[in-house]
């Protein structure tokens, strides 16, 4: 609640900055506000692990990652004409994310998803003179509205069967019916599953993701790949791993197929991409597949492993998208060749990118290794050996395309590419991401024990 009020107030303050002309001060104000919210969120940590602990943990991840994102996306806020709007929209989107991780009621779920999505539609289209950006915003809006339709239809059917929007009441309804719930309820679950799977961009509901991720400004893409995905997974978890867990027999098989397809299609398609941004978009689809694995496992490790995975994945994504946007801005394209010889010209960027990619690929001792380990462990304990095998094969494919960039950075000649100027804030941000990735890889228990 505190986080919700503080973040909304921060968004309104960002809008007021235009009137009272303290635009220059806005960046530090917002970053300080986010850090304050983060600290306050941690201070009154509730020990009740099932609902409130999860909410605190995920909203802390969201707020912390957004703070990092703001430092990374400094360049995105340089444009004078709609600077305050960008700030406000991002903060409102974050409010939506916090609602999505903490709802106990279907109406709040719907509002959270919409509050997160509508600013994203707008921000994806925020490069107004770029056709690709316009297309991204439009595509995202149309398909997002379509998936919202499925969500609402699902909520309606579930309300029709249970006469309640409250998640605990719905969970009670399932347990009191002993698994033999009305078929209308099943249809509702499947429709909501479609909507949630769309939001986390899993195959076969992923077609929007590559185009939107590529067309949107790189900073916005980073936000979509981290905050939006984490919030969507927290909402997914809350809905399916807690509320609909009793009716697992109806949706686990469906999700099994979706997860396997996501892992394979995401990783294999990522290999053939020439644009690094598009490659990262497909890799983000593939990462949704790993997190789905934990959801299918449906045991006591589900929540903690998704939390750890989303944290590790978000830090890795922020760093890799940060390096990508800096390199793209100075070298004019985002092919693998743009990274040639980066280790000689900009060692810090190259190291940050390498650590981030190693983490995304799941190589020890980075955070990504333990993230994958916990998820595979959870799925294996619940008896999904085949799915784990598919996931391991898929991550081997992942290693190939991540290493292509690392090889380009360290072993290819730079062809006279000059050193890239990096601001102090960005340097600081990259050092933080490197340290966090390695620290989480060395002491994963710290996060895992939270839930």
């Amino acid at each position: 609640m505190t986080a919700l009020i503080l973040l909304s107030a921060l968004g309104v303050i960002a809008l007021l900055a235009e009137i009272f002309s303290f635009k220059k001060l806005l960046f530090p104000v917002v970053v300080l506000g986010l850090i304050t919210t983060f600290v306050l969120n941690l201070v009154d940590w509730n020990t009740d692990k099932s609902w409130y602990g999860m909410m605190r943990a995920f909203s802390s991840v969201l707020i912390g990652i957004t703070t990092l994102w703001f430092i990374m996306a400094e360049g995105f806020f340089k444009e004078e004409s709609s600077l305050t709007d960008h700030f406000a929209l991002i903060l409102f989107a974050l409010v939506g994310g916090v609602v999505m991780v903490s709802y106990t009621n279907m109406t709040m779920l719907f509002l959270g998803i919409e509050i997160l999505s509508i600013p994203m539609y707008v921000l994806a289209a925020s490069k107004k003179d770029d056709v690709a950006s316009n297309e991204a915003g439009f595509k995202y809006l149309i398909l997002g509205a379509f998936s919202t339709g499925f969500l609402l239809f699902g909520i309606t059917l579930i309300y029709g069967a249970t006469a309640s929007f409250d998640l605990p009441v719905i969970a009670d309804f399932i347990s009191s019916h002993n698994g033999a719930v009305p078929s209308m309820f099943y249809a509702g679950i499947l429709l909501m599953l479609i909507a949630m799977v769309f939001k986390v961009s899993a195959v076969p509901f992923h077609f929007w993701a590559p185009d939107v991720y590529q067309g949107a400004p790189t900073s916005v893409t980073a936000f979509m790949a981290t905050i939006v995905k984490t919030a969507a997974f927290a909402a997914f978890l809350r809905l399916f791993a807690s509320t609909f867990a009793g009716a697992g027999s109806i949706w686990i098989d469906v999700l099994w197929v979706i997860a396997a397809l996501t892992l394979l299609v995401g990783n294999i398609t990522a290999v053939i991409q020439t644009s690094t941004k598009r490659m990262l978009a497909y890799s983000s689809i593939a990462h949704a597949g790993y997190m789905l694995l934990a959801l299918i496992a449906l045991n006591q490790f589900t929540q903690s492993s998704v939390l750890f995975y989303s944290l590790a994945y978000s830090i890795g994504s922020i760093a890799s998208f940060g390096v990508l946007s800096i390199v793209t801005a100075s070298r004019g394209n985002d092919t693998t060749e743009a990274f040639n010889g980066l280790a000689k010209t900009n060692p810090l960027l190259a190291v940050a990118m390498t650590v981030a990619l190693l983490s995304l690929a799941g190589i020890p001792p980075t955070a990504g290794f333990f993230a994958k380990y916990y998820i595979f462990n959870a799925a294996f304990l619940s008896g999904y050996g085949w799915l784990v095998l598919i996931a391991i094969l898929a991550s081997l494919i992942g290693v190939y395309y991540y290493f292509r960039i690392i090889i380009a950075m360290f072993f290819k000649e730079s062809n006279g590419n000059a050193s890239i100027e990096v601001t102090v804030n960005h340097k600081l941000m990259f050092i933080i991401t490197i340290l966090l990735t390695i620290a989480l890889g060395l002491f994963p228990d710290f996060i895992i024990r939270l839930l």
């Binding site: 004409s81 709609s82 960008h86 509050i115 600013p119 921000l123 029709g160 069967a161 078929s183």
Partner: protein
């Protein structure tokens, strides 16, 4: 009597909704959509939700449809501009939506009849009761919706205004 009225309104709603999809001219589609909304508002009245029915007509049939018509007029969509789609695309869309229809009909066919908590309360849809629920049970969603509207408004303004160089 009410049952027949229900079937009549349902028939109208489904028929007009089909006409929205089937008619070639976008203006006709919009006008059929208005009729669909009126039929659905009739359902609300049958359910004793008078306020919802009124708001539904004012907001959807009134405001939003006028907006639709304006957009169609400004974009000059008053002719068949839809590109021709391949037969495979049409076939797969038909199969997919047919399967969805099958699942939905199958699940609703033998749905249990739900007994309402208070079977007959003629004032259930009046503004007073609605306000009580909205500001009591659903206060937080009601307040949070303001952020949604604010965000949407800021976004619309941001996309709409010119870049000042």
């Amino acid at each position: 009597m009410i049952t027949y009225l229900f079937y009549f309104l349902s028939f109208l709603a489904i028929m007009f909704a089909l006409m929205v999809v089937l008619s070639k001219n976008p203006i006709h589609s919009v006008l059929y959509l208005v009729l669909t909304f009126f039929a659905i508002a009739g359902h609300y009245v049958l359910l004793n939700a008078q306020f919802l029915a009124a708001v539904h007509i004012i907001v959807y049939a009134g405001a939003i449809m006028v907006l639709f018509l304006f957009v169609i007029m400004l974009l000059n969509l008053n002719k068949e501009t839809e590109p021709h789609k391949s037969i495979w695309l049409k076939a797969s869309a038909a199969v997919a939506s047919g399967l969805l229809l099958l699942v939905l009909v199958g699940s609703l066919r033998n749905a249990e009849l739900i007994t309402a908590a208070n079977p007959y309360n003629p004032s259930i849809g009046l503004i007073e009761n609605l306000g009580q629920t909205l500001f009591h049970e659903f206060l937080l969603p009601f307040e949070v919706a303001s952020i949604l509207l604010l965000g949407a408004m800021v976004g619309a303004v941001m996309l709409g205004k010119k870049n000042i160089k």
